[in-house]
Symmetry: C2
Subunit: 253 residues, 2 copies
């Protein structure tokens, strides 16, 4: 078998954040597989075939990519951000585990990318400057009770929280419910960041507080970040304040 599968994180969107490793792997692929809007980001190459799929069909998409690689093709399976963070990498290994034995012999490289929370953090300061966690707010693949329990544990333990998949047309109430859980564990003054389409031409970033955060600000392209009681705003002239979380935790008196 001479096929190859590269599972590639495209980063948040800006070309200057795509790693040279990913650029080279994309150029070397004969078959590109991915969610349609992510494939649309890539420059056309007449020699390449594209296999675009809809949202929420990750296992089927992974199987398409694996079958092409098993048949000898050079395949790139793309995700936004980092493919290992709520992206296609986990789906691909799940498909391998449940697929033909031959798929375990496919040569695979996973190529990391800049995940949305780091692009967002860089735009506004250093909100992830201390211990943090990433939670997918989607309850398509896990019960809401697990999401709520993780939110409570993270807030109580003092983690900065990055929420992926905060809202979609099919999941309209989850972010509001998440804020309600967090308000039980954090002061209302804690900063909440809504960052939509970060590094894309239509990027929008707003900083609010947990007390007043409006879940309607979020859509499918939004990353929501919740600070801790220690997260600080640093005022500056002529621009929005910087936001950062200090590296240290004071020893209690």
């Amino acid at each position: 078998m001479s096929g190859h599968l590269a599972i590639i994180g495209l980063g948040p969107g800006a070309a200057e954040l795509l790693t040279p490793q990913a650029t080279a792997a994309l150029a070397a692929a004969a078959e590109l597989v991915g969610y349609g809007p992510y494939l649309d980001r890539l420059p056309p190459r007449p020699s390449q075939r594209r296999h675009a799929s809809d949202n929420r069909v990750e296992i089927a998409r992974a199987r398409t990519a694996l079958a092409l690689a098993a048949a000898g093709a050079r395949v790139a399976l793309v995700s936004a951000g980092d493919a290992g963070v709520f992206g296609m990498a986990s789906a691909a290994f799940e498909a391998i585990e449940g697929g033909p034995a031959a798929w375990r012999g496919i040569a695979i490289d996973v190529l990391p990318g800049i995940s949305a929370m780091f692009a967002v953090a860089a735009r506004i300061g250093a909100p992830l400057g201390h211990d943090f966690c990433a939670i997918s707010l989607s309850d398509n693949l896990k019960p809401w009770e697990v999401v709520a329990q993780r939110l409570a544990a993270a807030a109580a333990a003092g983690f900065v929280i990055a929420l992926y998949n905060p809202a979609s047309t099919a999941r309209p109430w989850q972010l509001g419910a998440a804020f309600d859980v967090l308000r039980g564990h954090l002061p209302g003054s804690v900063p909440v960041v809504f960052a939509t389409a970060v590094t894309r031409p239509d990027e929008r970033i707003a900083i609010d507080t947990l007390a007043t955060a409006d879940p309607a600000r979020a859509d499918m392209r939004t990353l929501v970040m919740i600070g801790t009681a220690a997260t600080r705003l640093v005022a500056r002239p002529g621009a929005a304040p910087w936001l950062y979380t200090p590296r240290g935790v004071a020893v209690p008196a």
Copy 2:
């Protein structure tokens, strides 16, 4: 003031993982400020001055960079990985908050990079495929009790855990104590990854279990990752197994 400060994440080490944005900012800088071994990674340019410092003097290093930028220079302050993840970005904003008012007017760009946990994850599969957290095991800047409480909360809530700064000559016992905390909340079969110098020529990656994990495997250049009870190994011919954490959580019966 015409100075400029770029706070730059260099990624884990491999040149092919340095973003084009970071490459351009490094080339445009007149003054390079950073921990010596990180500056040593950068190609020499006769027109640039270097300000290398020792480990554990982050605030002094940040103040050096800020003072140069405030005086009108084009400055690059570098971190390994992502500067916002246990790197120089938070230290810089802390220095600004405690520094001269003029520092708040400095033009600053934070440039994201590939943090170690994503480079490690990509090398071995998709261990961060579900909700996860990052914890610095250093108790230089926070009491050990806070570290232990966060470890317990993260394990009990089902997060994959990435441990930064797991060990150093001055902090020899913390990783063993961390494993002891985790063993109180997770089965002994949970995978533990020791990844040292990832993407560097002397990279070493080993997969063990929580029951048998030996803290002596870790040093200053190691990232330790602890899976969840759901993290899976996928055997493959002629190579170490893939490691991945499934995207979903089963609904309890």
